[in-house]
């Protein structure tokens, strides 16, 4: 008797729980954002592959990392964002190139907005965790602030030690705020209840070197503090993203 009672109780418990899950699933889905790093149209290969930039300098890329923050999807009548939205993407680490946004209300979205870099709150509120933890090596100690994006490599035109170039772009205080907003038309991204939709993005390192300012690596090869040069490069890379496909 007691045994069957337990069974019934367990059954009721499972039933109520599954209803709760189903209710959640009823109106929200997951969006997976996959960021593919490229140089022009080729998948980016660090350290060993030679590329040519807009100025005509050949170069190797050793490190390519950047923050994406404040991700928002919007469309006619629908909008979705996440709390504490800070993601560090590292071309050298595949696991960082996928972002899951859960509990996105079902609907059709056509716009994707985010920031390259991090907002002034994150830059001023002390020791942060997760992708913002200073152990990630994207932080300036002596002049507080995040390195919003980093591109490092080598080019024979650089008259520096090991022909290295180093672009550490950051700064949150005006007039040298290097954060850049990105607005992308996604086409129609349909989010269905309990299902996963995928947005494939391309982040093109070649954009760092051109439009509006063509970078001559023999002249500009080291930027590692907030200022005019950081602003120039941020203006260059602010259009490095594009949507390649949806799934």
């Amino acid at each position: 008797m007691q045994h069957s009672m337990k069974k019934i109780l367990t059954f009721i418990l499972l039933l109520t729980q599954s209803t709760v899950f189903a209710q959640n699933g009823n109106n929200t889905g997951t969006v997976k954002i996959v960021v593919q790093t490229v140089f022009d149209n080729e998948p980016l290969k660090l350290e060993t592959k030679k590329y040519v930039n807009a100025h005509g300098d050949s170069l190797y890329i050793d490190e390519f990392r950047f923050y994406i923050s404040g991700i928002k999807f919007s469309g006619s009548g629908a909008a979705a964002s996440e709390k504490e939205s800070y993601h560090l993407i590292d071309a050298g680490e595949a696991s960082t190139q996928t972002i899951y946004m859960k509990n996105i209300p079902a609907g059709n979205y056509t716009q994707l907005n985010f920031m390259i870099g991090v907002d002034s709150t994150a830059n001023t509120n002390g020791a942060n965790g997760g992708d913002l933890d200073p152990v990630k090596g994207m932080y300036w100690a002596w002049n507080t602030g995040y390195i919003m994006a980093k591109l490092q490599g080598r080019s024979s035109v650089c008259k520096t030690l090991h022909h290295a170039f180093e672009f550490h772009i950051g700064g949150y205080l005006p007039p040298f705020n290097a954060a850049r907003n990105v607005n992308l038309e996604t086409g129609v991204l349909t989010v269905e209840a309990g299902k996963e939709s995928v947005v494939y993005l391309k982040a093109d390192a070649a954009e760092w070197f051109k439009d509006p300012e063509t970078i001559d690596l023999s002249k500009m090869n080291e930027v590692n503090m907030p200022g005019k040069d950081a602003m120039k490069i941020a203006d260059n890379y602010k259009d490095m993203f594009s949507v390649t496909r949806l799934e």
């Binding site: 001023t124 509120n125 002390g126 020791a127 965790g129 152990v135 100690a141 002596w142 507080t144």
Partner: protein, 344 residues
Amino acid sequence: MKRIVYFFVCVFGGFLLAASFGFCPVPGDVDFVIPKGWPQPHYDFSKNKLTEAGFKLGRRLFFDPGLSRDSSTSCASCHTQFSGFTHVDHSLSHGINGLKGKRNSLTLFNLAWGTSFMWDGGVNNLEVQPLNPIENPVEMDNKLENIVAKLNQSTVYKSLFYAAFDDSLVTGQHVLKALAQFTVMLESYNSKYDKYMRHEAGGEMTRAELHGLKLFRKNCASCHTEPLFTNNGYENNGLPVDTELNDFGRIKITRLAADSLKFKVPSLRNIANSYPYMHDGRFGNLKKVLEHYTSGIVNSPTLAKQLRRKIMLSEEDKNDLIAFLQSLSDKDFLFDMRFRNYAD
């Protein structure tokens, strides 16, 4: 029925016991005080709740030379308690391998009221200040990620981090938050001057000290503003540039010509204990400091406007001013047992 009574006694009794030991901070240990008449602190305690475990962990880290690359140098190496947590008698801070830095180490107290840190104000939050000495090649020459990796190898530290942050995985964020829990507790508000202001026993000022206070309020207080004895600003106080160090101060951070030769206005609390003085420690005693302010000011476009007119002090005035400055030493703070090196 009996069983039910036992059940409630155990549950609630256990809860009360846990509350008395675990949840309530031990009085005195992590009791942050806002002294009467002081402004509200700038530090955001809501993002780093002070606990006994967090404070003790921060203290342990502060005294641990293992934070430096070769395990030779701790925070306390250049910030000793009896001098107001600075490096007494050293003009420039020393680091590993006996290397010398470019600047005199600052005192550490009343940091909750600080709005920016370092001589040039490059650091905007107390929690991220330790990254500077940790990573400076002439100080601790380490990386936060190395410290985190090392602490994660230590079962002792892992349990202390668990006690402080409910997470035994050591992160950079928690190392910095723990250090801040210790440094923010370094409060100094019980000098003779404070007792005088509060009309308390021990606050009986001499005639010379009172005359010094008057002179201080007339000539110094616009920058070294009571009760913190700093206005948290940056000023050029007319020191001739050391042509070997070539340190132009805050301009390095802001890149504004108007900030050339400006340095932090340091608090003057515990000043008699924290010699030498100035950003490069060029003056070994207070007499030399007063010589500078009365007859050594070098004019330049960014010179503080208060120093553009000459400060006139007789020899007696100078002695009285120094007597007053000595009344800013706070023995309760300088010898507070909570701030000693305990390995617990």
